[in-house]
């Protein structure tokens, strides 16, 4: 068993929470830019210690307004889901995680 990862059921439970919190901006036209990556640092109770937008430079780049819109929606989703319902054990496994918010399938052409 790989103790560095979440179990499938732990990962599914986290995903299910975030799915309900993420209001996808369904007006966005399809593009390859519909992926927002976020690094989270969590406290043992699942509340957010730190949130880092991994592509934060793009958020204020002229011509990337659609990315900024998607990134805003991701930030709202994380705030809405805060604190996350996290596994009861193995804090070291999940205290840092990267969430890849990928709207390409949902907004596909």
């Amino acid at each position: 068993m790989d103790y560095s990862k979440l179990t499938l059921s732990e990962e599914d439970a986290l995903k299910a929470q975030i799915f309900t919190c993420w209001s996808v901006p369904i007006g966005l036209p399809f593009s390859e830019d519909l992926l927002v990556r976020v690094k989270l640092q969590l406290k043992p109770d699942g509340s957010i210690e730190n949130l880092e937008m991994l592509d934060h430079v793009k958020m204020n780049t002229p011509g990337k307004e659609k990315f900024r819109t998607l990134a805003d929606s991701v930030r709202r989703a994380i705030q809405l889901c805060n604190p996350l319902k996290v596994p009861t054990s193995g804090y070291e496994r999940w205290k840092n995680m990267i969430l890849n918010f990928d709207a390409r399938d949902m907004l596909g052409g």
Binding site: K15, L28, K66, N100
Partner: protein
């Protein structure tokens, strides 16, 4: 011995790295419900309210503007404006500093606040868009106009909010031109009419003496082109909405129809029919030079340019049945793109450039649909007894079209109404008009 110690450290490092490696989770689904938004009435002080009554006969124009915004956001299908009865904070305080926790309590994710003053015959508006969950301001704007423009102010605010929250331009500060219809089916009186996209401010541009059909906006000016009758022949006309001046387009020895402007507004593209054959022509509006684009012994009609002016889509029965074609704007490289069952017509290129909207007739039903510009990915958005003539919103997200109901043998029960549907196919709505209506055409954004 040293090698053994090194090996121990390497193994220890690998194990510890594995134990605490960063996990990654892909979030590929989300909530597709409309975004909950609170539209707080724009605050107006007592002095301004008195001026509002004097100028506009409206006591609280701030509330009225917020209703325009609320309605626009609601009909887009992308937002869920929350009931004002649930608001905990009053507009004057909310505009200065919202208590985010109060708005979060009613599940708002975004909030619009603002202030309106009417002084010296000027309407001054400031508004702010707030991100409730992040507890920060997303946008703040202020502008001044004449008080009678208050509905437009609501549309402009709606466009700004829409753009900030969806990432694409709005379509609210726009107008619709259409054919107003009254009277029994056998003797309809048809006039050109124009209104705001939400159905307000209707004006009639013709008197109803002559039949009018297929009005189309110039994307760059206040001109429209349409079909009417001149010496008992259908002819393409140009009309300046501001001045009311109209003229027949070109001197064609026959029937001209299905006009539409090029995206730069410099040309009209249309069909010209002679001796039972119709082909596609353009006319340059500056030098009036006419150019023949197709030359085929079939019926070529309903031309529409791509937004970059490089291509034209049209329908033709050159294959034996009416289908959609795409060609270069000089008429070369003609390719059929529709291959589904049924007949295809009225193709219109999206302002985004990625899709072509069309009307389809199959087994006695009419459909409004879209396909990619190479004909792939056909999607039928709506089906009905009779509907046609889709026209795109300027952001390429919504289509407006008209739908007729079946009449009985005496011609009773007939009606024609405007409808809109967005690209999801779920947000279908009737567009309010004062009379029956057909042949709608959507303008560009009035303010950019």
């Amino acid at each position: 011995m040293i090698r053994i110690i090194n090996l121990f450290f390497i193994i220890s490092f690998l194990f510890s790295a594995k134990a605490y490696s960063l996990i990654e989770i892909d979030i590929t689904r989300g909530n597709l419900d409309p975004l909950p938004i609170a539209v707080s009435p724009l605050f107006q002080d007592d002095n301004s309210k008195r001026n509002s009554i004097n100028e506009l006969k409206i006591e609280n124009v701030g509330s009225e503007i917020s209703l325009v915004v609320e309605n626009n956001l609601k009909i887009s299908g992308l937002f869920n404006p929350l009931s004002k009865e649930a608001f905990l904070q009053k507009p004057d305080i909310a505009h200065l500093k919202p208590r985010f926790e109060d708005w979060a309590l009613i599940k708002a994710q975004a909030l619009i606040t603002g202030k309106v003053t009417i002084e010296d015959k000027k309407l001054k508006v400031e508004f702010r868009l707030w991100d409730i969950l992040a507890g920060r301001e997303m946008m703040a704007l202020a502008f001044t106009t004449v008080p009678s423009n208050w509905r437009r102010v609501g549309h402009i605010i709606s466009d700004k909010v829409y753009e900030r929250l969806t990432g694409e331009k709005g379509y609210f500060d726009t107008r619709i031109i259409y054919v107003s219809e009254e009277g029994p089916k056998t003797a309809r009186v048809k006039k050109l009419a124009i209104m705001d996209q939400d159905g307000f401010n209707t004006k009639y541009l013709t008197l109803g003496n002559e039949l009018v059909l297929t009005p189309r906006f110039n994307p760059t000016s206040q001109m429209v082109t349409y079909l009417s009758y001149f010496k008992n022949l259908p002819r393409v006309y140009l009309l300046d909405i501001e001045t009311g001046t109209q003229e027949v387009v070109g001197d064609f020895p026959g029937m001209t129809f299905a006009p539409r402007f090029s995206p730069d507004g410099k040309k009209i593209i249309m069909s010209f029919a002679k001796d039972g054959n119709s082909d596609i022509y353009t006319m340059d509006l500056e030098n009036r030079i006419v150019e023949r684009i197709t030359n085929h012994p079939s019926i070529d009609t309903s031309p529409s340019y791509s937004p970059d002016n490089r291509f034209i889509t049209f329908n033709s029965d050159r294959s034996g049945f009416q289908q959609i074609y795409v060609m270069k704007s000089d008429g070369s490289n003609v390719k059929r793109i529709s291959f589904g069952k049924g007949l295809y017509g009225t193709p219109v290129w999206s302002p985004r450039g990625d899709l072509i909207a069309f009307t389809k007739l199959h087994k006695g039903k009419f459909y409004i649909g879209v396909m990619r510009t190479d004909g792939s990915g056909e999607r039928l958005l709506t089906e009905n007894y009779y509907q046609e003539a889709p026209s795109w919103s300027p952001n390429g997200r919504v289509l407006i079209f008209y739908r007729e109901t079946k009449s009985n043998d005496k011609g009773e029960g007939f009606s024609a109404k405007l409808w809109s549907i967005d690209l999801t196919g779920y947000n279908e709505r009737q567009v309010q008009t004062e009379t029956d209506a057909s042949d709608p055409s959507w303008s560009s954004l009035l303010s950019n």
